[in-house]
């Protein structure tokens, strides 16, 4: 029975990218040598998808928070970018019309003052709309970038959750009576 052998060739650019990623990971891990081994896998996960590193470490609440904020801000970034592009296109269209009036006048053509003033007002309105949407886009971008960065720093400085050491609910009997302890983790 014939067998098939496959060889995988990696392109030089792919190899270079891989080396760069490894170099970055090594550099970051060297910065936190005490927990380097423990966070290695978690860091890579958080690097790929925010929150997954925390989930790997057992911090599920934080994982959900990072993933949730990252997804919401990422989605908001995408939508606000689309709306911003739309506003810029409308503004550019009005700007082209307004510039054409200048050309018409310089070529000896007649332009109505109603058109000149109306187009200028519309152009300003579209510019204001683009400015507003630009601010929204930047807000989502900063939120997304900050969430991503904090998620990476958090996964580097966090210790994996130790279930044995951190009992959620315990009952202790002592000379003063029985004490119930509830542990919350964040």
């Amino acid at each position: 029975m014939p067998t098939c052998k496959t060889k995988t060739h990696r392109s030089p650019s792919g190899r270079a990218r891989s080396l760069t990623t490894r170099g970055l990971a090594v550099a970051l891990l060297l910065a936190f040598p005490a927990q380097a081994m423990a966070v290695d896998s978690a860091f890579i996960r958080s690097l790929l998808v925010p929150g997954t590193g925390q989930a790997h470490q057992g911090h599920y609440t934080r994982a959900a928070a990072y993933a949730g904020v990252a997804v919401l801000s990422g989605f908001g970034l995408l939508i606000s970018q689309v709306y911003y592009n739309e506003a810029v296109d409308k503004y550019d269209a009005q700007k082209r019309i307004y510039a054409s009036y200048d050309e018409t006048l310089s070529e000896g053509g007649v332009v109505s003052i109603k058109d000149i003033e109306g187009t200028y007002a519309l152009m300003q309105a579209e510019h204001d709309s683009a400015e507003k949407r630009f601010a929204w886009r930047n807000g989502f971008l900063v939120t997304f970038a900050a969430t991503y960065a904090i998620n990476l720093v958090d996964v580097l400085i966090s210790k994996p959750y130790d279930a044995d050491r951190q009992e959620r609910l315990s009952v202790e009997a002592g000379p003063g009576g029985v004490r119930i302890t509830k542990t919350f983790r964040f």
């Binding site: 550019d92 000149i116 630009f134 900063v142």
Partner: protein
């Protein structure tokens, strides 16, 4: 942290696709004709006259007629404040409009009047 904020601010501002609003065209607002009077001479002929505040800046006047739903139709131009217009259709209540065109080729708003 401060460096991170600076880099983030630079990235954000570098991604702007829109620029500032250009300055408005340096044109003078043309004077608008006023007190347009439309006198009917016969079924197709009308005498139009109007007034203007600053005739020195006006190069010509444009006369329009409005009938049907096609909007204002240019009937002719004149450099005086009176003109006789011969309408292509015999209609009662025909609307005539006049505008002033300045030496910079900027046309004013229309002033309209109805034939009796």
């Amino acid at each position: 942290m401060k460096r991170f904020i600076v880099i983030l601010a630079l990235v954000v501002t570098a991604c702007a696709r829109h620029d500032d609003v250009p300055p408005p065209l340096e044109v003078m607002t043309p004077p608008t004709p006023k007190n347009l009077v439309v006198e009917t001479v016969d079924q197709l002929t009308y005498d139009l006259s109007w007034e203007i505040d600053d005739p020195a800046v006006v190069k010509e006047y444009r006369i329009y007629s409005e009938y049907g739903t096609s909007g204002p139709q240019l009937e002719g131009t004149t450099d005086t404040t009176t003109i006789q217009v011969i309408s292509p259709v015999a209609l009662s209540g025909l609307v005539f409009c006049v505008s002033a065109v300045t030496l910079e080729n900027v046309e004013s708003a229309l002033t309209c009047g109805t034939s009796e």
